[in-house]
């Protein structure tokens, strides 16, 4: 076998067969991102990118209260959506993994089906519910909870609800993956040793599926902070997030420098967070 492998390695060098896909990724993924990085350090004049290097783009974005607010809102939305999806997704994932229902397959399919709809479609439903003349206002008026119609949107809260809804399947999928690897007998063992449900959950189940929970949070968080469609529909000019601000800079204002710098800050913050979470995970693993 080693000889056959050695011969195979000689007859089709891997570099040859991966050359085309690797070239495509280099040309249309790595190069564009490098261009973007370089644009963030260049000066824009009269809606044109110049070749003058500068740090002003970053200075501008990191000192204006308007953009600091955009960053704060973006990360608040990301964290809120992540937490909300864990609270909703964990019980659902636990149920789906442990249920002995005949309908298990169908229930799993139903919980993941929203992934097939575009975010635009999924957010449209929330518009119907949350707008001033929408379902939520009708219900609350009918019940006498509110005296007059109130605007639930545009608001940061509406963005959070819409994104939590759109990204829930990602949390469920990740947590389900980690719960699947946990032997259900661990729980019965803990309970037969006298732990009640709560203690079993806190001291047995939760620590065991912590990687899945952390993974689900990070996945949802990182998609949420770069989401464009939901904040564009459920938010407004007063509730800008990073993605809508980038779009405005580049498409409306044609300011490549600021748009690029904003994108770089967004990525840097995300990578830092992912790196930090990874380090934290390692620390836990060594303890």
């Amino acid at each position: 076998m080693p000889m056959a492998m050695a011969r195979a390695r000689k007859s089709i060098p891997p570099l040859l067969i991966v050359a085309l896909p690797a070239a495509v990724l280099l040309a249309f993924f790595v190069v564009p991102n490098l261009l973007l990085l370089s644009a963030s350090f260049l000066k824009s004049e009269a809606q044109q990118l110049t070749t003058q290097p500068t740090l002003d783009n970053y200075r501008f974005l990191l000192t204006r209260p308007l953009y600091l607010e955009v960053f704060a809102r973006t990360f608040t939305v990301g964290i809120a959506v992540g937490v909300l999806d864990l609270l909703l997704g964990f019980p659902l994932a636990y149920f789906l993994v442990r249920t002995k229902s005949r309908w298990k397959g169908l229930l799993i399919a139903l919980s993941l089906a929203p992934l097939l709809a575009s975010v635009v479609v999924r957010t449209y439903g929330w518009y119907i519910i949350l707008n001033r003349f929408g379902f939520a206002n009708d219900v609350l008026l009918g019940l006498g909870v509110i005296g007059e119609r109130i605007a639930f949107m545009p608001s940061t809260g509406a963005i959070i609800i819409g994104l939590a809804h759109a990204l829930l399947p990602y949390a469920v999928l990740t947590i389900m993956g980690s719960l699947n690897g946990i032997n259900p007998h661990f729980e019965s063992a803990a309970m037969s040793l006298g732990a009640d449900r709560m203690r079993t959950f806190l001291y047995v189940l939760l620590p065991l599926c912590l990687p899945g929970i952390a993974g689900g949070f990070l996945l949802v968080f990182s998609i949420a902070i770069s989401a464009y469609a939901t904040p564009a529909i459920l938010g407004g000019p007063a509730t800008q997030v990073a993605a809508t601000a980038i779009y405005n800079f580049i498409i409306q204002l044609l300011d490549w420098s600021l748009g690029a710098a904003l994108a770089v800050i967004l990525i840097a913050a995300t990578l830092l967070l992912l790196y930090g979470a990874g380090r934290l995970g390692e620390r836990r693993a060594t303890l």
Binding site: V18, V31, L92, L116, R197, A229, L266
Partner: protein
């Protein structure tokens, strides 16, 4: 047994599960409700998106089938299908090389392959727009630009599914074929490819759906007349919320749903989303 003890037992064993079930019902309502509401709204007789719908009419559906909506829908279908074909064609050798060989730069290649998955799609979209503009490829924005962008962001999905099916390949089939006199190419064509067919199909389906539902990249690379349906809906949302949009939304939901249902029938697509251990 006293009532009290029976209650305590119920509280200790059955009750938590009952509470969990009630909560799960709530989560399903939260998750599927807005989609069902959208579907209901499309049958409104009035020209506002009322829920519950007032009256019943099919006129919004009639409008949803006007060229104004059908054209971007067909555009998205064309773009998604071509993306699926190109992305899987590129992913196949990539997945095969990563699975089959250990070579210098393999880790770098893995990072390169999964990169588009890590990087926000929006950022890749902006970068591609900049690249196209600097190269003077303004004419290529629209279909060509979108195809390039979608292939890049969909390739990781295809590589992943193909890798999963390569890992389930029985270990010695290739050697068996070779010892029976098959050449490398013949082995690949007649043994490996048929065995990983499901993975390739699944990769294509994922790529199609990812392309069909994408917004973040498409908003930068589309141009008037060459716009995917999602971008078209988003553009329309800024002006108004006629129930036509609800009808269009339902149509765009049915397309991937039907595709998955058909492919699931033909080959076990579900295995790639959930239950990989079932095959191991």
């Amino acid at each position: 047994m006293s009532v009290r003890r029976a209650f305590n037992r119920w509280r200790a064993t059955a009750a938590p599960w009952a509470v969990l079930r009630a909560f799960v019902v709530f989560v399903y309502v939260f998750s599927l409700g807005p989609i069902l509401i959208t579907a209901a709204v499309s049958f409104n007789a009035t020209n506002r998106s009322f829920f519950p719908p007032r009256g019943f009419s099919l006129r919004w559906w009639e409008r949803a089938f006007a060229p104004e909506w059908v054209d971007p829908l067909l555009f998205s279908l064309k773009l998604g299908s071509l993306t699926a074909v190109v992305a899987t064609a590129l992913a196949l050798p990539l997945a095969f090389a990563l699975y089959r060989y250990r070579f210098r730069g393999r880790q770098a290649l893995i990072a390169l392959t999964l990169g588009p998955l890590m990087m926000p799609t929006l950022v890749t979209g902006v970068g591609l727009l900049q690249l196209f503009q600097q190269l003077g490829w303004r004419e290529q924005l629209g279909f060509t630009g979108l195809l390039v962008g979608h292939v890049v962001i969909c390739m990781p999905f295809a590589v992943r599914t193909v890798s999963v099916s390569l890992q389930t390949l029985p270990p010695n089939v290739e050697l068996a074929a070779a010892s029976l006199g098959a050449t490398r190419i013949a082995t690949l064509r007649w043994v490996v490819l048929p065995l990983v067919k499901t993975g390739v199909v699944a990769g294509g389906v994922f790529a199609f759906i990812h392309s069909f539902t994408d917004v973040n990249l498409s908003i930068f690379l589309a141009r008037p007349g060459e716009t995917p349906i999602t971008v078209r809906i988003l553009g329309f949302l800024e002006f108004g919320f006629a129930p036509t949009l609800a009808a269009v939304s339902v149509i765009t939901l049915i397309v991937p749903l039907a595709l998955v249902a058909v492919v699931e029938r033909v080959s076990g697509l579900g295995d790639f989303i959930y239950g990989e251990r079932r095959r191991a």
